[in-house]
Amino acid sequence: MPELPPIDPMDAFIADLQAPVDLSALATARIMAAVRADAARRRRRARTWQALAVAAVVVLAIGIAVYVRPADGTAVQFALPVPAAHEVVVVGDFNHWDTHATPLRRTTNGTWQTTVRLKPGAHVYSFVVDGNRWVADPAAPLAPGSDFGAPNSLVTVAPGTT
């Protein structure tokens, strides 16, 4: 019977180290529990972000809608050629006769003008020059009853115009 070769201690040592080590069922369960918990956290986080994104889109859409929505009414330009005036405003039923609501701007040729959006219908108005002088619009018809009080003008906005 042939003699067996001697065992190299290093080979035996390595064989020992190579012996299997099983990961315990408990460790496996803990890994999967941690993974499931992490996945659930991620899903919650994703839902939160999704909700925030939807909210942001809604807010943005509302903002855009408000911002780009065409203003109500028809643009009507008021103008009064009074080069020597220091201040001109237009008052009327559309601004509740408020002498501070709608000032006009002086242009280079001395005409004062502004644009107001008016709803369809007839509107009575007047200019107030330098705070105390009421002036009817020379380019518009006088409003009924102007003969008996302050000279008011009349502008009529037809429905469907912009």
């Binding site: 201690p9 190579q18 460790a27 941690a34």
Partner: protein, 191 residues
């Protein structure tokens, strides 16, 4: 780089890449396939490296959870095993540095005792304890290189990819570890 499967009827086994794709797509339970596939091997490395079974299991658990969280960043999904080991190695380095437990780098188990083939005249348990001390006395980088080369049987190229160390450095570490272990084993035999 996979654990050996149990014998049985042939069945189609999902590749690592296919399994990872399922997990990333939301099938969390598919991750257990990867745990089953690599868990034992990771446990063996961590146990040999850290010398403490409980600490090793903690390191393996942490490694798998970290891997899960970073799974979408696994560049080469077919080499998930190597990627996982790179995480495990770092985790073991941290644990090893933290614990400072260098005296218990070997854990006894009955299977290994049978496979140890210790010399007849030498008491197996005592011999194994000597070996445990020998392994523990290696520098951590040498122990790491020795285990990857001779226990996990990786090539130097694979070891370099996993550890980030150069091939020459790894060869040197393995050689020094082997030389020191031979010397320590010789002392153990001679005692």
């Amino acid at each position: 780089m996979t654990d050996d499967g149990a014998p049985g009827s042939p069945q189609v086994v999902a590749s690592d890449a296919e399994t990872i794709a399922r997990v990333v797509a939301g099938d969390t339970e598919a991750f257990s396939i990867l745990v089953d596939r690599y868990g034992n091997r990771a446990a063996r490395y961590a146990t040999r490296m850290l010398g403490d079974r409980a600490e090793a299991e903690e390191a393996v658990q942490d490694t798998f959870v970290r891997a899960y969280r970073a799974l979408s960043r696994c560049a080469d999904r077919e080499r998930f095993g190597h990627w996982l080991f790179s995480i495990l190695i770092n985790r073991c380095r941290t644990a090893g540095a933290r614990s400072g437990r260098r005296a218990r780098t070997f854990v006894r188990d009955e299977t290994a005792l049978v496979a140890a083939a210790a010399p007849d005249a030498f008491d197996g348990v005592a011999w194994r304890e000597e070996i445990a001390h020998a392994l523990a006395r290696l520098e951590m980088s040498q122990r790491e290189a020795f285990l990857l080369k001779h226990v996990e049987q990786l090539s130097y190229e694979e070891m370099a990819a996993i550890t980030g160390a150069g091939i020459s450095a790894l060869k040197m570490r393995v050689k020094r570890a082997t030389d020191q272990l031979r010397m320590l084993l010789h002392e153990a035999y001679s005692a």
